[in-house]
């Protein structure tokens, strides 16, 4: 896998973008803890700072979409799209079902940022789905 990744600039860009998004995510999460939770920051700077971890997380959608656009191998592109569809189905179904459970049953509240997290895990589930149905999980997951 890594030998081929060295040859594929689109995969290099994908991993670089993921790494950059994670650095911004962790940095802004730490800053939010220190400045808002501990430091008592309020007002619009707090809103902007608290939005940054979410925006960094949301960048994952853009990054994966860019991978699909930049991938030159059409079969690999199909695998990525199928992964994305499985991930989206799992995340949205989980959010919809849990939302109604929260409304009608005594279940705990789930913070909204868990739904995009489930989407990321869904990419892994999509790779397994590809492996079972297409015989290969592709090269990125």
């Amino acid at each position: 896998m890594f030998a081929r990744m060295r040859k594929k600039p689109e995969l290099k860009r994908y991993l670089l973008r993921i790494a950059l998004a994670m650095v911004i995510y962790l940095g802004s999460l730490y800053a939010s803890e220190v400045l808002i939770e501990d430091g008592g920051m309020t007002g619009w700077p707090a809103f902007v700072l608290a939005a940054l971890p979410g925006l960094a997380f949301a960048a994952i959608f853009w990054i994966f979409t860019r991978l699909i656009i930049e991938e030159r191998d059409e079969f690999q592109r199909l695998l990525y799209v199928r992964q994305m569809m499985v991930a989206t189905g799992l995340a949205l179904t989980s959010a919809a079902v849990w939302g109604f459970w929260e409304t009608y049953l005594p279940v705990g509240h789930v913070e909204a940022y868990w739904w995009p997290t489930i989407w990321c895990f869904g990419l892994g589930a999509g790779a397994i789905f590809n492996k079972i149905t297409m015989g290969t999980a592709g090269e990125c997951m």
């Binding site: 081929r4 030159r72 191998d73 059409e74 079969f75 690999q76 199909l78 297409m134 015989g135 290969t136 592709g138 090269e139």
Partner: protein, 70 residues
């Protein structure tokens, strides 16, 4: 859609990776096309035809059921 990719490749003693390299696609792509799990786009089908020096219809065959329906 059925195809004669595996036979044509075997005649030339090419591995899946050899063909993949000539087509600038992954080995998995060649395998998926050979096993009928994936039908290539028209541009890739033309590229495959060029590599083998054949016409597209000499490589890709319509399903019998499709022909019977016509």
């Amino acid at each position: 859609m059925k195809n004669r990719l595996r036979v044509l490749r075997a005649e030339r003693e090419w591995s899946q990776q050899d063909l993949a390299d000539q087509l600038d696609v992954s080995r998995q792509s060649v395998n998926a096309i050979e096993t009928g799990k994936y039908d290539p786009s028209l541009p890739l089908a033309f590229k495959i035809a060029d590599v083998f020096g054949l016409a597209i219809e000499q490589i890709f065959l319509r399903d019998v059921a499709e022909e019977a329906a016509e």
